[in-house]
């Protein structure tokens, strides 16, 4: 998660520094090239280290062994990944819908703020992972408890950032709308919500990673599918290469999900300061 955060700040930094538009694409290609290069370098170094130091395969298998393990049963691994992806997206999607609705309620009603918001903060200070067994008791060992745990882990960051965004609107913007006799729903839709989007997306980027954590935790606790389950069974058989395949797929999945959210942000917020190219000259 921290790695993804770093690359996000790097992106915006280079974008503000690049003056002309046509140079932006090659720069980002160079960036991608650098990341891929770094990954290859790490893998090569890893392979070489295993070749030289010969650790027990159960402790650290070589990347080539991990790759062969994946090739042995790609269908199995992809099926497990698909299940985890589904759980993550379902939990994340529900967290977004529920979180935004809660945030709107919290901003609009002092009562909801005092009750629901306080409860949410209290709930967030309980290690939510510890609640996972309870969810299994309530919902069984199917997909539902996993989705519920993913939802619970993702929800808080959605709500916190959405509330922050909805609140931090320029009072004069609201005054302008009120002076035009706008309804409070119109103010929400046309001013508060678009104004909150950058903040909401900051929350979504954190939430998507948390949803993945939640899905894995759910699979750890009980179940018969998903990458978390695959890791657990492989561990039981001391099949370290298999554990590593799952870990790498998880890394890929998490990174891909983060960048999908970021791509949505770019698509939806071309107007935001962080997305503007060198062309803007505001002041």
């Amino acid at each position: 998660m921290s790695g993804s955060g770093n690359s996000a700040t790097q992106n915006s930094a280079t974008e503000t520094l690049d003056p002309p538009m046509p140079q932006r694409l090659p720069t980002s290609l160079v960036e991608v090239g650098m990341v891929v290069g770094l990954l290859i370098a790490v893998l090569v170094l890893w392979e070489a280290a295993v070749y030289v130091f010969k650790p027990a395969p159960i402790i650290l298998p070589a990347p080539s062994v991990i790759w062969q393990e994946f090739l042995l049963s790609p269908g199995y691994f992809l099926q497990m990944s698909a299940f985890t992806l589904y759980t993550t997206l379902a939990g994340f999607g529900l967290a977004v819908v529920l979180g935004l609705a809660l945030a709107v309620g919290i901003v609009h009603s002092k009562f909801i703020e005092r009750t629901v918001y306080t409860l949410l903060v209290a709930l967030n200070s309980v290690p939510k992972v510890a609640l996972a067994p309870l969810f299994v008791i309530w919902m069984g060992t199917g997909v539902e408890p996993k989705i519920a745990i993913a939802l619970m882990l993702a929800l808080f960051s959605v709500v916190i950032d959405a509330v922050l965004g909805l609140r931090s609107v320029d009072p004069d913007m609201v005054n302008l709308a009120r002076a035009s006799r706008a309804s409070s729903f119109a103010i929400l839709r046309k001013i508060r919500f678009p104004n909150a989007l950058p903040s909401i997306f900051a929350g979504l980027k954190v939430a998507i990673s948390f949803a993945l954590v939640g899905a894995i935790v759910g699979e750890f606790v009980a179940g018969s599918e998903g990458l978390g389950f695959a890791i657990l069974t492989a561990q039981g058989q001391f099949d370290t290469p298999r554990v590593f395949v799952c870990l790498m797929l998880l890394g890929l999945l998490g990174t891909a999900l983060f960048f999908v959210v970021e791509a949505c942000e770019r698509l939806l917020l071309p107007w935001h300061v962080s997305q503007r190219g060198g062309g803007g000259s505001g002041h």
Binding site: N175, L176, A179, S180, R181, K190, I191, N195, S281, H283
Partner: protein, 259 residues
């Protein structure tokens, strides 16, 4: 009867050290088609007074009538311009201007045509599909004025609209506002702390003082219209400026350094 009439207006705020009186004993009548400036030092409550007229702030006592109706909410047929342009970054200039129509439930090509015509008139033709951050401060404020004028309001409220602009842009916009007023004869209440600006634009200048915010004098500006920037060098104009300065000096707002 006056289009806007304020009588016995008082506005107090609660504060930890007891109530603070922001405005006291405000009586003011503004006729239809009149341009009235409210001039005063910072903290005299002139912006608060404007927000009360706009129906954006409640009052503690007294009544405000707009077009004969006692004010309870923002009145119909009102446009407002703030010191900051508050354009929405996610909308183009045209869509920013159109937002007042959207709030009023107006849509369609006619409103769009009107918005484009207004933008053209304010020198923003060709900029309608740009975003606010691509424009200079002066252009942004022009767009904000277009937005206020879009629904052809009878009452135009302006809260130090040119206060954040440089002197040249300010002159420019003063002239444009004077022209627009000349053509449309809207009722305008214009809050400012610029003496020259107030005299140049107005039929009457309302002078306010602070602690508590109150009206100390109303000066009729009897200068010919249409007005031109060069008039600011005329002796009559100078006399008005001197009179206002003298008044502020006697109130202790302006310190006179003459011996």
């Amino acid at each position: 009867m006056a289009y806007l009439s304020i009588s016995g207006l008082r506005k107090t705020y609660g504060s930890p050290r007891g109530p603070v009186t922001a405005l006291r004993g405000i009586d003011l009548e503004v006729n239809e088609g009149e341009f009235v400036s409210i001039l005063g030092p910072s903290g005299c409550g002139k912006s608060t007074l404007l927000k009360c007229i706009a129906g954006l702030e409640g009052t503690s006592a007294g009544t405000i009538r707009v077009d004969g109706q006692v004010l309870a909410a923002p009145p119909k047929d009102m446009g407002i311009v703030f010191q900051r342009d508050v354009l929405l970054d996610w909308r183009t200039i045209l869509d920013n201007v159109l937002i007042t129509a959207e709030f009023a439930g107006l849509k369609g090509p006619a409103v769009r045509e009107r918005a484009l015509a207004l933008l053209g008139r304010f020198g923003l033709g060709g900029f309608e599909s740009r975003h606010p951050w691509e424009l200079s401060g002066g252009m942004r404020q022009r767009a904000a004025i277009c937005r206020a004028l879009l629904c052809d309001p009878k009452l135009l409220l302006m809260d130090e609209p040119f206060g954040a602009l440089d002197a040249m842009t300010r002159d420019d916009l003063n002239l444009e506002l004077a022209r627009i007023w000349q053509d449309t004869r809207k009722t305008v209440v214009f809050v400012t702390h610029g003496i020259t600006e107030a005299i140049f634009l107005s039929d009457r200048v309302v002078i306010m003082d602070r602690n508590p915010g109150r009206i100390v004098e109303v000066i009729d500006i009897d200068l010919p219209r249409p007005r031109h920037l060069a008039m600011r060098e005329s002796p009559e104009f100078g006399r008005y400026v001197a009179r206002v300065r003298h008044l502020f000096a006697s109130l202790g707002v302006l310190k006179d350094d003459a011996p």
